[in-house]
Every structure is written in structure tokens, then in C-alpha cells.
């Protein structure tokens, strides 16, 4: 560690190129069957056969016990030299593989999650940080040695070493490593945009950052842990479903366990017949219990969290995602959320004695080198309204003055003219410094624009004030459609703003929100949420400022923008890396999808049992009552082939449904009744019908290959 007072400007830190390139390419979703993931998952499926791991899943535990029991009896039979050993071995084999397939489903989901996590981990670079010492000097330490409360100094060209809050300075930051968005964002001390994430790069100016999380505890780390399935708690919904399928398992266990006495009675009554063997009884049990949903349940949950992350949202718990599925109301901020926040020029307003085209000309010249959307819109407006084309300024002696957060203005020194545009008070001060006077009309025009929700940009030429550019807050594109989608899902949108009611009404009408609250203080937001919740509604809120924190914490689902403060991010239960306020639409869709997928697969699993009964019952009792062969509607070859075919179908259907479990059942924003009807028809009716041809086919294959 060397102690330096000024960092050398030409030293570039190391970057893990691979990781940065991967994320900038936007590789967030992997193909369904990536070979490397497959290999990992297959290995894990056998490792997970350990009874202690299987015991967490009651249905699969019953299957494993059954498989072990069958194996024991088959071995006993083999030693005693009884017949039908080959059949017994096959049954035992397929029973074990039922458990393996279920493990595979879970392992696949976890492996995909781990792959995402690994990609995320690559963004954690081992940069050197400039830690500020009490004597105002800096020391170089590796980023992994930084602790909460350390202050680091970061300047243009260098990577930010860890999550933190800007305490001094303003800078523009490239966050594409985290968000995939290449346009730089402004980060400044105080205000709502003070949070920075480790791994992003400072592009201009310099800032002092106070580190707010220890290594291993950043948001990224927490999300990685969640996605890897290590810190996964069962959500209330999952627990309820688990109880249901455990209960059904008990019922079917009962139905099967009482069969031997009935069989014994029937054999005694008829005088002939063979009692069903352990292998056949276990087969019936395993076929009846909902193994399909039992095996796929955890995979559905893990894959759901994975999908949330693919949408660039860091969710702190699975419960938050499921809660979003039931949200009734969404609260949205106005500035920067519903509106662009980057304003667009719509009007040139000159002061007395100034020609409008002169104002437009000066405005355009001073904005030619301006990279900000505001500057570009000024150039475009001048071109459209006054046909002033972007000139070739090379022949003139032009020196562009770039925008700086300190001066709050930008412009150009051209042919002796000093053209400037910027905040009204900054320009007024500039003009006074040049020796000119500020007309009172300037303040009047600026105030008028502000009251209407716009931003005034004053323009000056040396000591003369030329006029004001009216920047208007534009509603984000597609907002109407997205809010309409929300409405179709049954979610009411409410806009909350500190603006005056007139401006708010105009923007609300334009954006298409269902309701709005104007001149709202942070306390008003909190009270509104509490009022909605008292009426039994679930409230979601998106916010970015520290003043949104209490409301974010009170809301049932709090989505903090990544551009927001650390306090907001801690208060909410999700962080949107894209800072898109209507991202909630995707989150709600995933939340609902989780529930729909679980329900559909449970229905399918239970509906399958109908066909399996028709396969196994005649096979089991045909020796006692040959009349029962009339139940063999699939025309299965023999009792052995029937039972084996049913068991094989039961195991194979788990693997066949893994892609569906990982991708989730398709969700369309229609009413609950319509969706339920559609899914009942597909998975309920389909579940009853599909096993019939399936078991018939397997039976034919078994007979053809002489396996039975």
C-alpha cells in the first residue's frame, strides 16, 4: 500500500474484460438446455438422492422409501429364486429414477440460477481503491479490503470500488455493467441521486464516496445468494401447496395400504388369485401420489426468481415477488418516473427588444456541442421552427464551454461573442459579471414556465439577456399502453407529485393514470398507502428518493429505482436496475405466473391419476376377478406390462414437464375466470386424456422390446 496525495492520471485499473463484455452484450437469459448446465444438473441429481435432502420434500421422500422397499423385496426374491425378478428389478429401477428425475428438475433450476450468479460475480472486479485518510491523504487498498464507513475518492476513468453514497462532488457515471444501459447517469451528493454501485465507472469530474456495505453484503451479493437457491425460504403459497400435496399423499397412502386386506378377503371368498406384491403396491402408490408437482415445485420457485432477475430486478425475497401477483394499486412518482425527467425544448420566449430568431440562433449555437438530451432538443427545435441548420463552426474560431454541474451552464465562445445558456439565476449572475443588467421580465417568464411544470433555460449573449427556452416535461413513451396493461390486470395506477394540481391534472390526463394526488408531501404518500391498505387493498410503490423511504417500507411491494438513494433501496423489497417505474408490470406477471404454473401442474398431476387407475387396478386384481379385465380399456398386454408402463410414464412425465416448469405457464392479462377456464381445459382435461395414449405407447414399446 503506497500513500499518495494525487493519483497518477495515466494508470488504468485492471478490469475483468470477460465479465464486462458478457453483461454489456445483454446476456441475461441462457438457452433452456445449455450443455454445461445440463452436466452440472445431472451430477447433482444423483448427489441429491441423499435421504436427508429428499426428506425436505414429502412426496419424493415417500417415493424414495418405496423404491428402497421394493429393492429390498426384489433382492429377497432374487435370492429365494422366485419368478418375476426381472420385472421387479425394472420396477425398482424406474422408481429410483422417479426420484432422480425430480432431483434433476430442481438441480436444473439451481444450476441456471448459479450460472446467472456466476455472470454477476464476474462484474465484481478487484480494483484498487483510493481510501481517504484522516490527514487528507489517500492510500491505495484493494477493493475487497474496504469496509462500511470508509471514504474513497474516485475520478474520471476509474471504477467505483464498492456500493456507496456520494458525499461530495458531482460526476457522470457509466452503469452499463450493471444495467446494460450505455447512457451515462449523473450522481451527486445530497438529493435523490447519491447512490453508486460498485463496478461502475466514473466518466467525468470526481467524487468522494462513503462505502455503505461490507464486501459480501452488497445488493448484488444478496441477489446472488437468492438466485443460487442457498438462502431460499419457502413462500406462504409454497407452504400451503406443500401441505396440500402432503395431505393428498397421506390419503393415497391410506387407499393403497388398505388394499392387502381387501385382496386377502377377496381371495378367500373366490378361492383363487394371487395377492398383489410389494412391487405392485408401491407402484400404485407412487403413480397415485402427485409426484409430478412434488418434483417440480421447488424448480418452479427457483426458476421464477431467475426470471425476475432476467428482467433486471433484484428481489430481496421470493415472498415479495409472489405478493406482487396480488397487487391492487400502484403508486407512481411523476418526475423522472412517469415523465422523462429529461425535458424537451418546446418554445423560445425572447425578452423585450429581442427577435425570436436571434434567440433561437444563439440558443442553437450554444447547444451544438451539448451532449445532453436537453441540448439536443434545443438544436432540433431551432431547426424545426426557424430552419436554422446546424452550421459548420470549424471555420469560425469556436471554443465550446461544456456543461458543468458547478456553473450550471454551458455555451460557446464564437467570433468574440460569449453565448451562454443555463439555469436562470446562473445566467443572470453571468450577465451581471459581464457588466450587463437583468430585465425583470426574465424572472416573470421563468416563473410562468415553472408554474406550468416546465423548466426555464435562460440564454445570454455576453452582457445581454436574450430570452428563455421553455423545456417541457414529456410523458414517457408508451406510458398509456403500459398503464392500460396494468388496468387489464386489475391494477389501479395513482400518480403522486409535489406539483400544483393544474400541471398534475394535465400530465395525469396525458399519461392515462387512473387517479392522481398533487402537492403531496412525503407524509401524504404514506397516509395514502395506509388508507388503501385499510380498505384491504395491496399497494405497490415505485420511488427513488430518501423521502420515499417510509412509503416504500409501508407499501406491500416497494420497488426502488437503482438511480435512487441507498435509503430508498433499503426500504423497498425490490430494486429495479433499469429504473423503469412500470417494471412492476413484469414483476406482477411473474408473480402471477408462479401461482398459475404451480396450480396448473398440480391439476395435471392429479388428473393423471385417472388413467393410471385404469392401468393398474385391472392388472393388480385380474388374477382374483378376471371380470376386471373389462376395466383394461387401453388394452394393455399383461399385468406386468401395465404396471411397468404406468410407472415409466409417471417418471418420464416429470422430465417432459421440466421446460414448462422452468419457463412458466404463459400468462396473459385477462380476468381470473377466463384464465382459469383456459388452464383447466388445457391442464385438467389434458391431464385426464394425455396419460391414456402415453401409457398405451409405452406398453407397446415394452412388448416390442421384450422387456416384459
Amino acid at each position: 500500500m503506497s500513500t499518495v496525495s494525487v493519483p497518477p492520471a495515466d494508470r488504468k485499473p485492471e478490469i475483468k474484460e470477460e465479465g464486462v463484455a458478457l453483461l454489456s452484450r445483454g446476456v441475461r437469459s441462457r438457452p433452456l438446455f445449455d450443455p454445461e448446465i445440463l452436466r452440472r444438473a445431472i451430477k447433482e441429481s444423483f448427489v441429491k438422492l441423499n435421504p436427508r435432502m429428499v426428506a425436505k420434500n414429502p412426496v419424493m421422500f415417500v417415493v424414495e422409501v418405496g423404491a428402497a422397499l421394493t429393492t429390498v423385496f426384489v433382492v429377497k426374491d432374487a435370492i429365494a429364486g422366485a419368478s418375476g425378478v426381472f420385472f421387479g428389478i425394472q420396477i425398482a429401477f424406474w422408481l429410483w429414477f422417479t426420484v432422480v428425475f425430480a432431483n434433476f428438475a430442481e438441480a436444473m433450476a439451481e444450476a441456471r440460477g448459479k450460472a446467472q450468479a456466476d455472470t454477476l460475480r464476474k462484474t465484481k472486479t478487484d480494483t484498487m481503491a483510493r481510501r481517504l485518510l484522516p490527514n487528507d491523504k489517500f492510500e491505495m487498498v484493494p477493493a475487497s479490503r474496504l469496509r462500511k464507513g470508509d471514504v474513497v475518492y474516485c475520478e474520471a476513468g476509474y471504477l467505483i470500488p464498492g456500493d456507496g453514497e456520494v458525499i461530495d462532488g458531482v460526476a457522470s457515471v457509466d452503469e452499463s455493467v450493471i444495467t446494460g444501459e450505455s447512457a451515462p447517469v449523473i450522481r451527486e451528493s445530497g438529493g435523490d441521486r447519491s447512490a453508486v454501485t460498485g463496478g461502475t465507472r466514473v466518466l467525468s469530474d470526481h467524487i468522494k464516496i462513503r462505502i455503505t456495505s461490507n464486501p459480501g453484503e452488497t445488493f448484488l451479493d444478496r441477489m446472488i445468494a437468492l438466485v443460487e437457491g442457498a438462502v431460499r425460504q419457502k413462500t406462504p403459497n409454497e407452504i400451503a401447496l406443500n401441505i396440500l400435496i402432503a395431505g393428498l399423499t397421506l390419503i393415497f397412502l391410506l387407499a393403497v395400504a388398505t388394499l392387502p386386506p381387501y385382496a386377502k378377503y377377496s381371495i378367500a371368498a373366490v378361492g383363487s388369485g394371487i395377492a398383489p406384491t410389494v412391487a405392485v403396491l408401491v407402484s400404485l402408490l407412487v403413480c397415485l401420489i402427485p409426484t409430478t408437482i412434488g418434483g417440480l415445485l421447488s424448480a418452479i420457485g427457483i426458476a421464477g426468481m431467475d426470471r425476475v432477475m432476467q428482467h433486471n430486478v433484484l428481489a430481496m425475497s421470493g415472498k415479495a415477488v409472489e405478493a406482487s401477483g396480488d397487487v391492487n394499486t400502484l403508486l407512481l412518482d411523476k418526475t423522472g418516473t412517469i415523465t422523462l425527467g429529461n425535458r424537451q425544448a418546446v418554445e423560445f420566449i425572447p425578452v423585450n427588444g429581442v427577435n425570436e430568431s436571434e434567440l433561437a440562433d444563439a440558443a442553437q449555437l450554444s447547444s451544438l456541442a451539448d451532449e445532453t438530451p436537453e441540448g439536443r432538443s434545443v438544436v432540433v427545435l431551432a431547426k424545426e421552427k426557424y430552419s436554422l441548420r446546424g452550421r459548420e463552426v470549424a471555420e469560425h474560431e469556436a471554443q465550446f464551454i461544456p456543461f458543468s454541474a458547478y456553473t450550471r451552464m454551458s455555451g460557446v465562445d464564437l467570433d468574440g461573442r460569449r453565448l451562454r445558456k443555463g439555469a436562470t439565476d446562473a445566467i443572470a449572475q453571468f450577465v451581471k459579471d459581464e457588466g450587463g443588467t437583468v430585465p425583470p421580465l426574465l424572472t416573470e417568464i421563468s416563473d410562468r414556465i415553472s408554474r406550468n411544470g416546465g423548466t426555464p433555460l435562460a440564454v445570454a449573449d455576453g452582457r445581454r439577456i436574450l430570452g428563455v427556452i421553455h423545456l417541457k416535461d414529456i410523458v414517457k413513451g408508451g406510458m398509456r399502453e403500459r398503464l392500460a396493461s396494468l388496468r387489464a390486470m386489475g391494477i389501479r395506477s395513482v400518480m403522486i407529485t409535489g406539483d400544483n394540481p393544474l400541471t398534475a391534472a394535465a400530465i395525469a390526463q396525458e399519461a392515462g393514470v387512473d387517479d392522481f394526488l398533487a402537492q403531496a408531501t412525503p407524509n401524504d404518500k404514506l397516509e395514502y398507502i395506509q388508507k388503501e391498505q385499510a380498505q384491504g387493498r395491496l399497494v405497490a410503490m415505485t420511488g427513488d428518493g430518501s423521502n420515499d423511504a417510509p412509503a416504500l417500507a409501508q407499501a406491500d411491494v416497494g420497488v426502488a429505482m437503482n438511480t435512487g438513494t441507498m435509503v430508498a433501496k433499503e426500504a423497498g423489497n425490490m430494486v429495479d436496475l433499469d429504473s423503469n417505474p412500470t417494471k412492476l408490470i413484469e414483476i406482477v406477471a411473474i408473480g402471477k405466473q408462479l401461482l398459475i404454473t404451480r396450480g396448473s401442474l398440480t391439476t395435471f398431476s392429479i388428473a393423471n391419476d385417472v388413467a393410471k387407475y385404469f392401468a393398474i387396478i385391472p392388472a393388480m386384481f385380474a388374477s382374483i376377478y378376471p371380470e376386471l379385465n373389462k376395466l383394461n380399456i387401453m388394452g394393455l398386454h399383461s399385468p406386468q406390462s401395465a404396471v411397468l408402463a404406468a410407472v415409466i410414464f409417471n417418471a418420464v412425465i416429470i422430465i417432459a414437464l421440466v421446460p414448462l416448469a422452468l419457463r412458466g405457464v404463459q400468462y396473459k392479462p385477462v380476468s381470473a375466470g377466463q384464465m382459469l377456464t383456459r388452464n383447466l381445459l388445457i391442464y385438467g382435461l389434458g391431464g385426464i386424456i394425455v396419460p391414456f395414449p402415453g401409457i398405451w405407447l409405452i406398453d407397446k414399446i415394452l412388448v416390442a422390446t421384450h422387456l416384459v
Binding site: I243, L244, A246, G247, L248, L250, I251, F252, L254, A255, V256, A257, T258, L259, P261, Y262, A263, K264, Y265, S266, A268, A269, V270, L284, L288, D326, N328, A488, M489, G490, Q535, G536, R537, I606, A607, D609, V610, Y613, I617, F621, Y625, E627, L628, K630, L631, S671, A672, G673, L676, T677, L680, G684
Partner: protein, 160 residues
């Protein structure tokens, strides 16, 4: 709660039928004079199993009648059908009341497009379908050795 209710009823019906179809008793003993519990039936074979199954099903869910002449007035049958009634009925009613109570204390959720309508064809189909499927899946094995096989035997001309 729902699981307890369904489980309780199935447990007693299927469990006691299983017990009675194999329980051995001494002839002219105290518990069951005719001998083994299965000997109380009027008919043999599948019809006999139906008689035993019916005795317990009716005790738990219907009017407690007997069917086809089973002699249910022995200490064994009296005791078991009595327990059958106790568990099958009360361990069904009490959980159902508990569910109602728990729902009553929950706060009302406003009706939105995401609410499932309880007054349409969809709900009726869903309800009836669930009842039939869960009921059928639980009792099908027992039924297949009783009434179902008897039906097929009847078609073949064998009567009881």
C-alpha cells in the same frame, strides 16, 4: 384443516373396512359371535365386501343403515361403527367450522378483475369436478373390489 377433514373420513371408512374384512375372532366368542368379522355378511365375495364397505360409509356419512343383510349388531361392529360415526362426522364438521371461522376473521379483499367469480358455470364445474375426482381417486380401489367387479360379474350372469 381441509386435509384433516378429508383424511378423517377416508381413514375411518377405508380403515375399518380393511380391519373388518380380515379381523379374526373366535366363533361364539364375545366380540363377534359368527366368527371372523367377514362372516357377518349375508353374501360372499364382492357383494360381501360391498356390504362391509357400505356399513362403514353409511355410518360416517349417511344414515347409518345396513345393506343386503349384514349382521351389524355384534359388539365388534357396534364399537367400530360407533367410532366410525364419531371420527367421520365430528372430525369433519369441526375442521369445516374452523375454516369458516378463520375466513370470517380475515379482512375483506375488494372485488377486481382478478377475483374468481363464485356464481358462474366455471365455479360449478370446478367444484363438482374437484369433489368427483378427489372422491373417486380415494375410493376407487375399494370400489373396484366391491361394486364395480360385481357389476361385471352380473353382466356375466353371476348373481348373489
Amino acid at each position: 384443516m381441509a386435509i384433516i377433514a378429508v383424511l378423517a373420513t377416508s381413514l375411518v371408512i377405508l380403515g375399518f373396512t380393511a380391519l373388518s374384512s380380515v379381523a379374526p375372532f373366535a366363533k361364539n366368542g364375545y366380540w363377534n359371535a359368527p366368527g371372523p368379522a367377514a362372516a357377518n355378511t349375508n353374501n360372499n365375495g364382492s357383494h360381501g365386501l360391498s356390504e362391509i364397505l357400505y356399513a362403514y360409509s353409511s355410518g360416517a356419512g349417511n344414515n347409518g343403515s345396513a345393506f343386503a343383510g349384514i349382521n351389524a349388531n355384534t359388539p365388534w361392529y357396534n364399537l367400530t361403527i360407533g367410532l366410525d360415526m364419531l371420527v367421520g362426522r365430528f372430525l369433519f364438521i369441526i375442521p369445516a367450522l374452523a375454516i369458516a371461522g378463520s375466513l370470517a376473521s380475515k379482512k375483506l379483499v375488494p372485488i377486481t378483475s382478478g377475483t374468481l367469480p363464485t356464481n358462474g358455470t366455471l365455479f360449478v364445474v370446478l367444484l363438482v369436478g374437484t369433489v368427483i375426482i378427489v372422491g373417486a381417486l380415494t375410493y376407487f380401489p375399494a370400489l373396484s373390489l366391491g361394486p364395480i367387479v360385481e357389476h361385471f360379474q352380473m353382466l356375466n350372469g353371476k348373481l348373489f
